[in-house]
């Protein structure tokens, strides 16, 4: 570290370092090219195409007075938390469409909300630059027991609990991600590396993963080691902001949704893009992606008010879901895979099955 500090004082160092980075990049590209033995269009060729895929809207959740910006499923597979532009966070029993809690935040644009694994706590945040936790019990008003856990220097764009209620991972417009201890509200680990706003994070579904992926306005997705805070992999290819990242259920790959109107699939072990989901007729950006339980189906929520349903392996579009009257801002597949929930700027959420 000491030698690095010395080099940092050298006025030429930036150039020298940039040169080194450049040559390393070239070498890396060569290394990767060696292993690229198939074209991405070959993927999934041995698979039968999916027939009779048919999901319909089954529930409409009405109650928000502003644009719905984020949603998350509870581990009980039927409750949903959603947050909106007017600063409200609602907790629904989506199956009965009843609202069970309404929490008013002291901010507008609540862009992130997340259910704790136990189902007894929710976290949210937005333009207040904070991530606040609210306990959810039937008998008490959640607002009286709220707890601010994380603070960033810009808006909170996403948050997610780890495998327990005791830790929360946040992503922010200040270009960093951070892991926080809930009880003490202390920073456990921060993750620096994005050059622009972090828009989305997703934790690896594998128990021993210790990694998460983040996507941001600098058009790259980064894979992080939660233990050390180091970025272990960088994936580029998108031509505009990445709005959403989501792990493939096996944890070996992840999908991204971007303002460049494409979704992509990046494989961690091949260390490259393995699929790209696009069509001439899709010109609006994608805000949210999620996989069905087997990973075969990829849902993308777009600014053109629709959800495009992709065969994640073949790269073909299976169908389009029309139902919202404004941008689809968020979506999520239920933990048991039985349904898909979409949230939109038209103030509603819908559950599809």
């Amino acid at each position: 570290m000491a030698t690095e500090a010395l080099r940092a004082e050298n006025p030429e160092s930036i150039e020298a370092l940039s040169r080194e980075a450049e040559s390393l990049k070239n070498r890396l590209a060569e290394e990767k090219a060696k292993l690229n033995d198939v074209d991405s269009c070959v993927i999934g060729q041995r698979l039968e195409s999916l027939q009779n895929f048919n999901i319909k809207p089954r529930r409409t959740l009405k109650g928000h007075q502003g644009k719905v910006l984020c949603m998350d499923w509870s581990s009980d597979k039927r409750h949903i938390v959603s947050s909106s532009q007017d600063g409200k966070m609602l907790i629904w029993d989506a199956h009965t469409t009843n609202k069970e809690h309404a929490i008013t935040m002291p901010t507008t644009w609540v862009m992130a909300c997340s259910y704790g694994p136990s189902g007894s706590v929710v976290a949210c945040g937005g333009l207040d630059n904070k991530c606040t936790l609210y306990p959810v019990n039937m008998d008490e008003d959640p607002a009286t027991k709220k707890k601010a856990v994380a603070t960033h220097t810009s808006y909170l764009s996403c948050c997610s609990f780890t495998s327990s209620d005791h830790q929360i991972l946040t992503g922010s417009g200040d270009s960093t991600c951070a892991l926080w201890d809930v009880e003490s509200a202390q920073l456990i680990q921060s993750f620096h590396g994005h050059a622009g706003d972090v828009m989305s994070i997703d934790l690896s579904p594998t128990e021993t993963g210790n990694i998460f992926v983040s996507g941001g306005c600098d058009k790259v997705a980064m894979v992080w080691d939660m233990r050390t805070g180091d970025c272990v992999q960088v994936f580029d290819g998108h031509e505009s902001d990445i709005n959403s990242v989501k792990f493939y259920p096996s944890g070996d790959a992840f999908a991204t949704g971007s303002d460049d109107a494409t979704c992509r699939l990046f494989d961690l072990r091949a260390d490259r893009e393995v699929n790209c989901y696009k069509k001439d007729s899709i010109i609006f950006g994608c805000n949210a992606v999620d996989f069905s339980m087997s990973g075969r189906v990829l849902f993308g929520g777009y600014n053109d008010y629709t959800v495009n349903v992709w065969d994640a392996l073949k790269g073909t579009r299976i169908t389009i879901l029309y139902c919202h009257d404004n941008r689809v801002s968020c979506l999520g597949v239920a933990p048991d895979g039985t349904s898909l929930c979409t949230g939109s700027w038209d103030y509603t959420l819908r559950v599809w099955a």
Binding site: R46, Q51, R78, S163, A270, S281, Y305, T338
Partner: protein, 580 residues
């Protein structure tokens, strides 16, 4: 502005956040306006007036369909896109100033002039809006009269902009005067375009504001470029990353693809979006049985759940009940300490910060002190690493990481393999809840799919002899071959085992000719009461792995069937049957 460097481009884009979509829409609209290849534009005479340069909704949609090479199934996409072009103000309906919609009929539309495109004139100010409203209020009431919401807006603006109001009125007067000198047709077109523009930018209450954006990004493109260039911290971490990533181990793309495919195939039957769940999807039928039986705290797991445990150790451990059963098994085997250690480490990683110290000490004491009752067996290198970690001033969540990893792979290779082959596991599988009945199981179409999509490792994997070799590759490619494993092992097992292996990957559907039959299966007494035995047909394909790679598939109906003798009287009763 002849040639712009990328940086300057970025600076230009700072104020146009959604440039990408505007560029794409504008490209389309420009193509539409090509005289030869574009949308057919004509002039139409209605009963009194002559309307110039209009096109019909059906022509527009037809053009989009052709241009974007949309199939008949995708026709709705062209309609949707036409509506969006209208919402974003690139085209507007003639005559209708209220609705922004495109109908696929002879209704007429016009192009907006580029001056009013969102990329050119993204955020018009209130001053311009006021001038526009004043202008209209000065003109013929019948043609240009203000709507209610516009009147309200005008009043609000008058108070808001009272200091500039004189200027606004003069401006409006001048513009009206200039407009009067224009040709009638031009004037009408201009009026319509201006009105359409404000319809998009100041929509009536309750209508979508398409041009509304989310909160501004914190870092503008130019700032990002600057950060990348000048920020030494970022540069260092980039270099660090690059140096490391030169040496990391990568798999071939084809291999990676295969792994993804195998996973999707393996979980095909567990994915409710692809295989209708049993007894029914609670969101479709309102019947919440599926929620109830798949709860993790119910007494008896479903067959699906138990089968999933055999896919991989990962799948087993991610299910609380799976963990519980695994633990029970290990307790019986007197090798419980490995699992307990692994669990303790996992809990340590995600515990409260305040508990870390105590937990680290406790784990070290319980599992790593030589001579303790539940000491785990790790190699010396690993033990040394842990020892080093323990010496660090602050206890860490990841102190035992290397040991935990080693124990995990040990469990994967050894105890897990024994667990899924154990009598306990088979009993669990036999006792598991099998929701649904005969009708659902043999739903039309699903059989065919099953046949095609049986998870199947490549044939060559069958040849690999050692179980450990499989697992070696599985540490790189976890999940992928666990069913293959099972099957291979099962081939050497007595025939009663085969039934489980078959059903474990060819969906529950096929074993059930009668709803309760499978639940009544007794694995222990195949010879019992042969007279009452029923025959259960199980398609054989799932015990052979080759046909997925074969160009012509064996038709399921003609496939050879394996007959299993099943006694009807058993000691195993499904839970819902009660005592009958």
């Amino acid at each position: 502005m002849v040639s712009e460097s990328p940086d300057e481009m970025d600076t230009c884009r700072d104020n146009k956040p959604r440039h990408a979509v505007y560029e794409k829409m504008e490209k389309l609209v420009q193509d539409m306006q090509q005289s030869e290849t574009g949308v057919p534009v004509r002039s139409q005479k209605t009963f009194r007036t002559f309307i110039t340069s209009v096109f019909t909704g059906s022509d527009l949609i037809q053009w989009l369909s052709t241009r974007l090479k949309l199939s008949d199934d995708e026709h709705s996409e062209a309609v949707k896109l036409a509506v969006l072009l209208c919402h974003y103000g690139y085209i507007f309906p003639v005559g209708d100033t209220k609705n922004l919609n495109v109908k696929e009929d002879a209704s007429l539309y016009r192009f907006q002039k580029p001056y009013y495109w969102p990329s050119q004139y993204a955020d018009p100010d209130n001053g311009s809006y006021a001038i526009y409203l004043v202008k209209r209020s000065m003109r013929n009431k019948q043609k240009h009269g203000l709507e209610d919401h516009e009147l309200a807006n005008l009043q609000k603006l008058e108070t808001m902009l009272c200091d500039k109001w004189d200027y606004i009125v003069t401006q409006a007067k001048d513009q009206v005067k200039i407009a009067k000198e224009k040709k009638r047709a031009d004037k009408a077109l201009n009026d319509a375009q201006e009105r359409a523009f404000w319809r998009v930018h100041r929509p009536p209450p309750g209508c979508i504001k398409t041009l509304e954006e989310g909160p501004k990004r914190n870092f503008q493109p130019s700032q990002m470029a600057a950060r990348r260039k000048k920020n030494k911290d970022l540069l260092y971490s980039e270099l660090q990353y690059l140096r490391r990533s030169i040496s990391i181990c990568r798999v071939k793309t084809s291999k990676a693809n295969e792994n993804l495919e195998n996973f999707a195939l393996q979980y095909f039957y567990l994915d409710p979006m692809l295989t209708p769940p049993l007894p029914s999807n609670p969101w479709i039928t309102d019947d919440t049985t599926f929620f109830e039986i798949s709860k993790t705290n119910t007494e008896i797991p479903t067959e699906q759940t138990v089968k999933k445990w055999s896919y991989s150790l990962q799948a087993l451990l991610s299910d609380p009940r799976g963990r519980h059963e695994f633990k029970n098994f290990l307790v019986k085997e007197y090798s419980h300490e490995n699992f307990a250690f692994w669990t303790a480490c996992e809990e340590l990683k995600f515990c409260r910060q305040s508990e870390v110290f105590d937990r680290v000490q406790k784990i070290a004491e319980e599992y790593l002190t030589s001579g303790s009752a539940s000491e785990i067996n790790i190699d010396s290198r690993c033990a040394e690493m842990v020892k080093q970690n323990m010496k660090l001033p602050k206890p860490n969540r990841f102190t035992f990481d290397s040991a935990q990893e080693q124990i995990f792979s040990l469990m994967k290779k050894d105890t897990y393999q024994r667990f899924i082959r154990s009598e306990q596991y088979n009993n669990l599988l036999a006792n598991a809840i099998q929701p649904g009945g005969k009708k659902k199981f043999f739903s039309f179409g699903s059989r065919k799919k099953n046949n095609m999509l049986t998870p199947s490792p490549k044939p060559k994997r069958r040849g690999s002899s050692g179980n450990d070799a499989e697992i070696e590759s599985a540490t790189v490619a976890h999940h992928s071959y666990s069913t293959g494993n099972l099957r291979e092992l099962d081939d050497r097992q007595p025939p009663t085992m085969r039934r489980d292996a078959n059903s474990s990957d060819s969906s529950l559907a096929r074993c059930d000719t009668s709803p309760n039959l499978a639940a009544r299966l007794s694995l222990r007494s195949p010879q019992e009461s042969p007279r009452k035995a029923k025959q259960l047909e199980v398609p054989r394909h799932s015990s052979s792995n080759v046909h997925v790679s074969e160009p012509t598939r064996i038709d399921n109906s003609s496939a050879a069937c394996l007959a299993i003798t099943v006694p009807s009287k058993t000691n195993v009763v499904a839970p819902w049957e009660g005592v009958d």
